[in-house]
Symmetry: C3
Subunit: 339 residues, 3 copies
């Protein structure tokens, strides 16, 4: 079954992705301690009859938009670092085994070589749309936040209606450069203004926006769209758990689908030093892991991405490991939908 | 108005400070996203009629007292690193714009070249006293904790009565070396024993003193003064918010004025690695930001400093950014006094 | 009295340990600010009549088991780094002086040169057993987690019954390599299967086991022993303090003795970067300090170790300082037994 799923996805994405690198997977060759990598590259996963959910990892090594926004390049190397950490994890959380309930496939790496940012975004939109249309849950591993624009476009083309939960220190609704060039600071403006999709501003939630990290003008823009800004300060006052539930409620609302975007710079740099734009304050590692789990468990969630991790500034793989655990936690959330 | 304020301060401090370096300010040149630096170096700030508060940044690149105390030099470079981060921040916290309510002026850098520690402290005392006497709220950016002695002396000469809240892992009431040489570990003893000011021990609060980081003898000294020691351990037991309110209540009491000193080493080194003497435990970044805001909002607060940040040990500007956000938060507190 | 205690211990361990290095101790030569090092190497400690507790530090620079487990070597250098930080601390927590109530002796460093892992473990077992039999409370400063096996064996030989609280991200019950070679991942399996001691699985508590960091097979093994796994996730849900009390209750139960093992990798790498296997999530520095104190205060605790700190990956001694403070906190807990 796994082989057949892999084959199906490979055929769907032929010439658009490079297959996953087997060097990513270093097995302990210990039957008493299998790792996620063992299941992705060698082992059978769940029994055929139980398959409800197939999550598909897609690496998008894109950071042209970070550079265009004046940021520090390096996020293009994040998918490799993150998956390397992910594949060493055990698929067991102390109570449940991940592969009792869901399938997880590594679809490989988007072929961005020699493509402009706009060409790469078009390719990504096409691939993510294809995965959504076939019923898979794409887990997009970025890359800069510019990869959110094609993700938003793809879910907009796929779903009748959708909400967005952006877990982020920044609003990322900057105007385009020269009114035409998108970048890592503009994805949600590009999604909102895309004409062939039904963006619903009332289901757009900015979660974690930090003080002194966004302009009044950008916040006004979000409010004009009908969007909700839950600032970091207000989340600390209300409490994290309550705020998160409220954010999910607003973003899912009556929509068919929910897209959750995790900008790793929403996490305090103590826990996540390896990002393009580190912040002195921010969410804890635990809060990120809880959010990833809740996003996975929410039955509306159809698409997720993890962006802005930057291995060039990481410390002993701390951030790569955290994002890997976030992905695993999202998958445990997916698995819990069926319980 | 801004130009006139700048001019007034420059004239008051002529030959005592070097003007702020314009290289500190790197504008995005984006009218939809102005930064604090834009307002300090180019933009008009609040309308003239609304001015209630003028806060004045003064850089004090002093660390002779750290070296004299056997500590690691480097804090002299902190003002530059901190202001560089501060000027990139937006003056917007998600709800309010800083410059709707207050003025913030960069008075420049105290001219300490070739001065001994004692000469530098005398110059600083003179400058801070001048700023206080003219009704400004000085924000002193250090430098080692030896800059607290002239700050305390200046507020003592200015106010009829004053309290001190020292946010710190250490008590900093060490005896002077050879009974005459002050240093970064002795400022509060020097203030307490200064004869021409009315130091009131009952309004002296040591907030955050860590276990195994102070001696019984130093704590006994504080108790003999009538001061209050709120240990880190007791703050964790009582709760941070409640403890902070109690600390402010004791320090402001019936005094005219309150002086708040932030030693950045009170913050856990996970959040603030770039300090002279890092601590394994300590306050979170959020708690520091909350304290800075509460200090600014308290109508008694007339003087604040941020000390012991050390760029030589910082990681990717984490600590500089945190102190910058603390200064911004203090200013938002000032702005909130009028609401 | 101190001299006599030192002499007694030195004679007990002759040819098995090297005496403590005096270079570890750098006094301020300040009678108003004595440090733990002053008391260990020069000062008289408690008055003879008051002595209830004598804690004995033993350095075990062992990491052969970490390498054998495929981990990163370096933990052998941890005792030196940790004690260097410990001896600079003041023996005062803001309220009490450590040496009013207990004695603390540095017994020196286990002589592991040229010994195999198994030979070193046998020597350690002998030394720890000797210390236990003479009524001392050994504080073993590792070293990889392979040093827990001889510790468990020694307490098993000494006590009629004992419990184990393992503060750890990992279960460390891996099978032996080739069914005979222990390592840093196997100590608790080796203790459980040791035939000449009365291991009681019902008093074995794994505290802090992280998601995706242990296999189902290893957890099943613990459950078959009758042991309790308190996962990190469940501790976060229940609350730290309540969970810790429950863990101590289960581990001490009706036993004569309690052995507490602190694997520093249970702490988030933000707070403890210098470990063999860092984790992106984990306990805070405060939680570790609280646990060390509670372990010391528990009258059943007869033996403690601190393992897996690795100076090669530390940042500005952050982790060494944290472990040092943990040891001091354990000692303050010991002191509080008598109040």
């Amino acid at each position: 079954m796994l082989t057949s799923l892999r084959q199906t996805i490979a055929e769907l994405l032929v010439n658009k992705v490079a297959p996953p690198k087997h060097e990513l997977f270093r097995s302990r060759h210990d039957i008493s301690d299998p790792r996620i990598g063992d299941y992705l590259f060698s082992y059978e996963q769940v029994k055929e009859t139980q398959i409800n959910t197939v999550a598909v990892l897609l690496s998008v090594p894109q950071d042209l938009g970070v550079s265009r926004n004046g940021g520090r390049a390096g996020a293009a190397a994040a998918p490799y670092a993150i998956l390397q950490s992910l594949y060493k994890l055990t698929p067991f959380n102390g109570e449940d085994s991940l592969f009792d309930t869901i399938h997880l496939i590594d679809a490989g790496t988007l072929l961005l070589n020699n493509l402009t940012l706009e060409e790469g975004q078009a390719l990504q939109e096409n691939v993510v749309f294809t995965l959504l249309e076939h019923g898979f849950i794409p887990i997009i591993v970025g890359g800069g936040h510019e990869i959110a624009y094609p993700n938003g476009a793809a879910i907009g083309l796929h779903a009748m209606s959708f909400g967005i939960l952006n877990f982020d220190a920044h609003t990322d609704v900057r105007p385009l450069l020269d009114e035409r060039l998108g970048h890592s600071g503009s994805p949600f403006r590009q999604i909102a203004e895309r004409e062939d999709i039904a963006f619903n501003g009332n289901s757009f939630v900015e979660f974690g926006i930090q003080p002194c990290a966004s302009s009044r003008s950008h916040c006004d823009y979000i409010h004009r769209l009908g969007g909700t800004i839950m600032t970091y300060t207000s989340i600390r006052q209300t409490g994290f758990h309550t705020s998160l539930q409220e954010a999910l409620r607003i973003a899912e609302n009556d929509n068919d689908a929910l897209y959750v975007s995790f900008d790793i710079d929403a996490i305090a740099s103590a826990y996540a030093p390896g990002v393009s734009a580190p912040a002195a304050i921010g969410f804890t590692a635990d809060e990120f892991i809880e959010t990833a789990y809740m996003a996975g468990r929410n039955p509306k969630t159809r698409l997720v991405d993890f962006v802005e991790m930057n291995p060039l500034y990481d410390i002993d793989n701390r951030t790569a490991k955290l994002v890997a655990l976030g992905i695993a936690s999202f998958c445990f959330g997916l698995a819990a939908r069926h319980t």
